[in-house]
C-alpha cells in the first residue's frame, strides 16, 4: 500500500485561555491517501478549522496546545519540528486556500507579485538555495511544461533575499515569472490574465480573488492542499463556478486535498472520503457515497435531515434538540448523548469506541467507520 500523504494519529488540541481549557480537537485520527480528496464537515465550533490550521502548524502556540497525537506528513511528525523550520514545509509541502480571499491576499501587492513570490520560493527550494524541510516524493507536475530558461544575470530578482546566493545560482527576471504566472492564471480559468496580472486584490471580484488564492496555492506544487471553506464567502452562482473549477482541478492535478466545509452539498460534490466532526471529535468517517446513503452516526443522520428542502406545509422541519456543548464543559460519555434519540444509559458513562469499522451489508466497503455504540441501529431513526 502506498504511503499516505498525511496521517493524523490521535491528535488532541486544547486552547488554554483565561476562561478555561477548550478541547477544540479531541483524539482525531485521519488519513489522506495520495490523489484523494478528503472532506471534513461540521458545525461552527466543532474544531474543523482548528484541525486545518493545526496541520501546517499555523495555530498560535499559546493559546493552542498540542496535547497529544501525531501529524505525520510524508513520513515525518510535524509536531516536534522547531518553529523556525516550519516555513520550509509550508507552500511547497502543504498549500492552503483560506476562506476570506480579501483578508488572505496582501492588499499592497499586485496579483503578479503575489503569485510570483510563491513561484520564486518553490524555485529556490528546488534549486537548493532555500532549505527544504523534507523532500518526500515528487508531486505530480500538472503544468506539463519545462521551466523557463534563466537569462540576464544582471536583472533584478523580484524577491530580494539572499542576493549573493541568488546571483551565484540562477536569477530569473520578471518576464520569466510572467510566463509561469500566466500559466497558473490560465489553469484557474481566468479570462484575459494579462490584464489581471497588474491589478490589486481590491479591484477583483470575490470569485476572481478566490481563483487567485487557488493559483497561489497550486503554484507551490504542494503535496497536500488544504482548502478551508474555499467557497463559503462567495455567491451561489460564483460558488458554483469556483466549485466547478475545483472539481476540474481535482481531476487534473491529482493532488491530495483536505477539503473543509460546513456545507454538506459542497462536500458531496467534491470529496471522495468524508469525515463528520462534532464537538472536536471525528464521529464518522468513510466514503462519501456510503455516508450520504446510510449514515452510521445519529448526528450525521440528523444533520442530513435538517437541510431544508421541503415546503411550509411540511412544517415543522426536523431539528436536533438542544445545542452544541461548550468545549470547556463537555458532557461525560458520548458528547452527543444529550441530544441523541438513540441515547441509552451506557452513552452517558462510556464515550464509546473511537471510530470503529461498521459491518454493513455484504459487498459494501469496509472503510466506513463511526464512533457510536449503536451505529447499527442508526438506520432505524426517522
Amino acid at each position: 500500500m502506498t504511503q499516505p500523504v498525511l496521517s493524523i494519529e490521535h491528535l488532541s488540541i486544547d486552547y488554554e485561555v483565561g476562561a478555561g481549557v477548550f478541547h477544540a480537537v479531541s483524539d482525531v485520527s485521519l488519513v489522506v491517501p495520495p490523489g484523494r480528496v478528503v472532506g471534513i464537515v461540521g458545525e461552527t465550533g466543532c474544531g474543523k478549522s482548528t484541525l486545518a490550521q493545526a496541520i501546517p502548524r499555523l495555530l498560535p502556540e499559546p493559546p493552542a496546545h498540542y496535547r497529544s497525537g501525531k501529524i505525520i506528513f510524508q513520513g515525518t511528525d510535524l509536531i516536534p519540528v522547531p518553529r523556525g523550520k516550519l516555513p520550509q514545509v509550508r507552500g511547497t509541502g502543504i498549500g492552503m486556500i483560506f476562506q476570506e480571499p480579501l483578508n488572505s491576499l496582501n492588499p499592497a501587492f499586485r496579483v503578479f507579485d503575489q503569485i510570483a513570490e510563491a513561484i520564486q520560493m518553490r524555485h529556490w527550494r528546488e534549486e537548493g538555495i532555500l532549505p527544504v524541510f523534507h523532500p518526500g516524493p515528487t508531486p505530480f507536475d500538472y503544468t506539463h511544461r519545462p521551466l523557463p530558461e534563466p537569462i540576464d544575470v544582471l536583472s533584478r530578482p523580484i524577491v530580494p533575499g539572499n542576493a549573493k546566493a541568488a546571483v551565484a545560482k540562477k536569477v530569473r527576471t520578471r518576464s520569466d515569472f510572467r510566463k509561469e504566472v500566466l500559466e497558473y492564471l490560465r489553469l484557474v480559468r481566468i479570462n484575459d490574465p494579462e490584464t489581471i496580472l497588474d491589478l490589486y486584490p481590491h479591484e477583483l471580484s470575490g470569485g476572481m480573488r478566490q481563483r487567485i488564492m487557488i493559483a497561489m496555492a497550486l503554484s507551490g506544487k504542494p503535496a497536500l492542499l488544504i482548502a478551508d471553506e474555499p467557497t463559503s464567502a462567495l455567491d451561489v452562482t460564483i460558488q458554483a463556478q469556483v466549485l466547478t473549477l475545483m472539481k476540474e482541478l481535482i481531476d487534473e492535478v491529482q493532488a491530495s486535498i483536505l477539503y473543509i466545509s460546513h456545507d454538506l452539498g459542497v462536500v458531496a460534490e467534491t470529496a471522495d472520503d468524508l469525515g463528520v466532526m462534532y464537538a472536536g471529535q471525528l464521529v464518522e468517517f468513510g466514503p462519501v457515497a456510503d455516508i450520504f446513503e446510510a449514515p452510521r452516526h445519529p448526528y450525521t443522520k440528523s444533520l442530513l435531515r435538517s437541510i431544508p428542502t421541503r415546503y411550509k406545509t411540511d412544517w415543522p422541519m426536523p431539528t436536533i434538540p438542544g445545542s452544541v456543548p461548550n468545549l470547556s464543559r463537555l458532557p461525560r460519555g458520548c458528547r452527543f448523548h444529550p441530544r441523541c434519540a438513540l441515547a441509552k444509559p451506557i452513552c452517558a458513562q462510556d464515550p464509546g469506541p473511537v471510530l470503529r469499522v461498521i459491518e454493513t451489508r455484504a459487498g459494501a466497503s469496509s472503510s466506513h467507520q463511526a464512533s457510536c455504540h449503536f451505529a447499527e441501529e442508526v438506520a432505524s431513526l426517522p
Partner: protein, 529 residues
C-alpha cells in the same frame, strides 16, 4: 364592495446611490453617475404572508428591505402601507409609524450593541414606542384640529371665489382669459429656452467632446456647425414671435367678446348673497376629536417585565436578562435580534439574512420558530436571503432579484419547481445539493455580476444568459404575468420559449476521466486504525 388594500405595496421603487464626482471627472466633463441599487421594483405583501427575496449579493435585496422600512430614502416610486403613503411621513409621525415594520438585521454581531445587556437591547424599541405613544396621545387631537382649521379656511375661500364669479360673470371671464394668456406666455418662453439650451449642448458636445468621446472635428466642420446652430436658434425665435403675435390678437378679440356678457339682475344677486352667507355660516362639519389615553411613562421594571415575557417567544430563557451579547452563540444572538423586532408587535418584519450566519441545525430551529410566530400572530415577513432552501421552507411567494430588478415573481412552488427566467434557472442549478451523483457535473454560466453604475438599457442578465437574443441587449423586458398563471410574473422576452428548459440543462455532466478514482469509493482509502 371595496377590497382591503394589501399590507404593503411598492410601486416602481428605486434607490440610487450617487457617486461623488472627482476633480478629474469635473475637468473632463464626465456626468454625475449613480449606483442603481434598486431600480423600479413593484411588489405587494399581504397580511400574514411571507414574501421571499432571493438573489446574489449586490442584487439590491437588502436595499429594498431597508427602503421599505424607511431606513433608506427611496429615490423615486411609491410605498403604501395599509393604503397609506409612507414616503410622505416625516419627523415624529414617521417615528410613531415605525413600530409597524421591524427589521432583523443581517449581522447578528454588528447589530447588537456590545455594551448593552439583553434587557436593554430588547427593551430599547419599547422605550421608543412608549415615547411615541405618549406623543401621539397629545398630538393627534391637535393635528386633527389644525387640519380642520386649514380645511375650513380653504372651504371659505372657495365659497367666496364662487360667489364673486357668480355675481360678476364678466369680470370672472375677463380674469380667466388673462390668466390663461400669461400662463401660455411663460410656458412658451420656457420651451424656447429649453430648445436653445439643448441645441447649444449638442453643439458643444460635437465640437469639444469629453476625453473618452470621439475625436474633435476639424475647424471647417466646427465653423459649419456653429453657423447651423445660429440659424436654427434664429429660425426658432422668429417662429415663436409670429406665434406670439397671433395669440395676442386672439386674446384681445376674446376680451372684447366678454363685454357682451350681461350683468346679473339684482334679485338674483341678492339670492346668491343669501345662499353664500348661509354656506359660510354652516362651514364644514365639526371633526370627531378622539380621546386617546396617554400611557404612563415606561420605567425600568416595566421594560424588564415585558422583555422577560417576550424572551420565551423566541426560545430564550428569561434568566438571561442581564447577560451581554458576546456571551451568546450566533443562533442566540439571532434570537435576541428577533425578540427585539417582536416586542413592539409589528405587522411586518423584514428578515435580512436571518440564518446565513448559522449552521444547518440551528437554522432549522430558527426557521421553525419564525413560522410558528407567524401562525400565532398573523405576522407578515419579507425574507431576504440568498439561501433558496430557507425561502422554499418559509415563504409563500418569492421574488428573484438580479441587479436591482425583479426578474421573476410568483408562488414558491411554481417559481422553484418550474422556473422560467434563465437567471432563476441558473441560480437553482448552481445550488450545491447533498447528492453524491452531482460530482461529475459542471456549471456552465460564466462571468461575474456586471456593474450597477448607470446600467445600460436592455435585460441585465443578457451578458451572462445562455439563451440570449439580439433584442435582449436593447429592450428592457417588462415583468409580465404568464398566460394561464397570472400570479407568476417573469421579466424575460423569451419567457415562453425557454419556459420548458430544465435548470439541469445549465449543468453539463462530464464522463469520468480515465485513470481517475474520483467518485468510485470501491478504490477505497486505507482505513484509519
Amino acid at each position: 364592495m371595496t377590497i382591503a388594500p394589501p399590507l404593503l405595496e411598492t410601486e416602481g421603487v428605486a434607490k440610487f446611490f450617487p457617486i461623488v464626482r472627482t476633480v478629474s471627472d469635473i475637468v473632463t466633463g464626465r456626468k454625475a453617475r449613480a449606483i442603481h441599487a434598486v431600480d423600479g421594483v413593484s411588489i405587494t405583501v399581504q397580511a400574514g404572508e411571507t414574501v421571499g427575496l432571493i438573489g446574489e449579493s449586490g442584487s439590491g435585496k437588502t436595499t429594498l428591505g431597508w427602503v421599505v422600512a424607511r431606513l433608506h430614502e427611496a429615490t423615486s416610486g411609491a410605498i403604501r402601507f395599509e393604503g397609506r403613503d409612507i414616503l410622505a411621513l416625516e419627523g415624529a409621525e414617521l417615528r410613531y409609524w415605525r413600530h409597524n415594520i421591524q427589521v432583523v438585521f443581517q449581522d447578528p454581531v454588528g447589530s447588537l450593541d456590545p455594551r448593552l445587556t439583553v434587557w436593554q437591547i430588547v427593551g430599547e424599541p419599547l422605550q421608543a414606542q412608549n415615547q411615541m405613544q405618549r406623543w401621539f396621545a397629545t398630538h393627534e387631537p391637535k393635528r386633527i384640529r389644525r387640519e380642520y382649521r386649514i380645511a375650513s379656511r380653504k372651504e371659505r375661500n372657495r365659497l367666496t371665489r364662487e360667489f364673486q364669479a357668480a355675481v360678476h360673470p364678466k369680470a370672472a371671464a375677463h380674469r380667466k382669459l388673462t390668466d390663461d394668456y400669461y400662463k401660455g406666455v411663460t410656458e412658451r418662453a420656457k420651451l424656447l429656452e429649453a430648445d436653445r439650451e439643448r441645441w447649444t449642448d449638442e453643439y458643444q458636445a460635437a465640437v469639444s467632446p469629453s476625453r473618452d468621446g470621439p475625436p474633435r472635428p476639424p475647424a471647417a466642420e466646427r465653423q459649419k456647425r456653429h453657423a447651423e446652430l445660429l440659424a436654427r436658434v434664429r429660425d426658432r425665435t422668429t417662429r415663436a414671435k409670429t406665434e406670439e403675435k397671433r395669440l395676442r390678437v386672439e386674446y384681445r378679440a376674446a376680451l372684447k367678446q366678454t363685454n357682451q356678457i350681461p350683468p346679473v339682475p339684482l334679485p338674483e344677486r341678492q339670492r346668491l348673497r343669501d345662499e353664500y352667507r348661509a354656506a359660510r355660516k354652516r362651514g364644514l362639519p365639526t371633526p370627531v376629536i378622539p380621546k386617546i389615553p396617554k400611557p404612563p411613562r415606561i420605567n425600568r421594571e416595566m421594560i424588564r417585565a415585558k422583555v422577560q415575557e417576550a424572551l420565551p417567544l423566541v426560545g430564550l430563557m428569561p434568566e438571561i436578562l442581564d447577560q451581554y451579547p458576546h456571551e451568546f452563540s450566533g443562533g442566540g444572538r439571532q434570537r435576541i435580534s428577533l425578540a427585539r423586532a417582536l416586542i413592539v408587535n409589528p405587522k411586518l418584519i423584514v428578515l435580512d439574512e436571518p440564518t446565513s450566519a448559522l449552521d444547518v441545525a440551528v437554522q432549522a430551529q430558527i426557521l421553525n420558530r419564525l413560522i410558528e410566530l407567524q401562525r400565532e400572530r398573523g405576522l407578515a415577513y419579507i425574507l431576504i436571503t440568498h439561501n433558496v432552501a430557507a425561502v422554499r421552507f418559509v415563504a409563500d411567494r418569492v421574488a428573484v432579484m438580479y441587479l436591482g430588478q425583479i426578474v421573476e415573481l410568483g408562488p414558491v412552488r411554481q417559481v422553484l419547481e418550474r422556473p422560467v427566467h434563465p437567471y432563476t434557472k441558473a441560480l437553482l442549478a448552481a445550488l450545491p445539493v447533498a447528492d453524491v451523483r452531482r460530482r461529475r457535473t459542471r456549471f456552465r454560466i460564466g462571468g461575474d455580476i456586471p456593474t450597477l453604475i448607470d446600467p445600460k438599457p436592455g435585460c441585465r442578465f443578457a451578458p451572462r444568459c445562455p439563451f440570449v437574443e439580439e433584442g435582449c441587449h436593447t429592450t428592457d423586458p417588462p415583468l409580465l404575468p404568464r398566460p394561464g398563471t397570472p400570479d407568476h410574473r417573469v421579466a424575460c422576452l423569451r419567457a415562453e420559449e425557454v419556459a420548458d428548459i430544465s435548470p439541469a440543462s445549465l449543468l453539463e455532466t462530464r464522463p469520468s476521466p480515465a485513470g481517475s478514482t474520483g467518485g468510485a469509493p470501491a478504490a477505497a482509502a486505507p482505513s484509519v486504525s
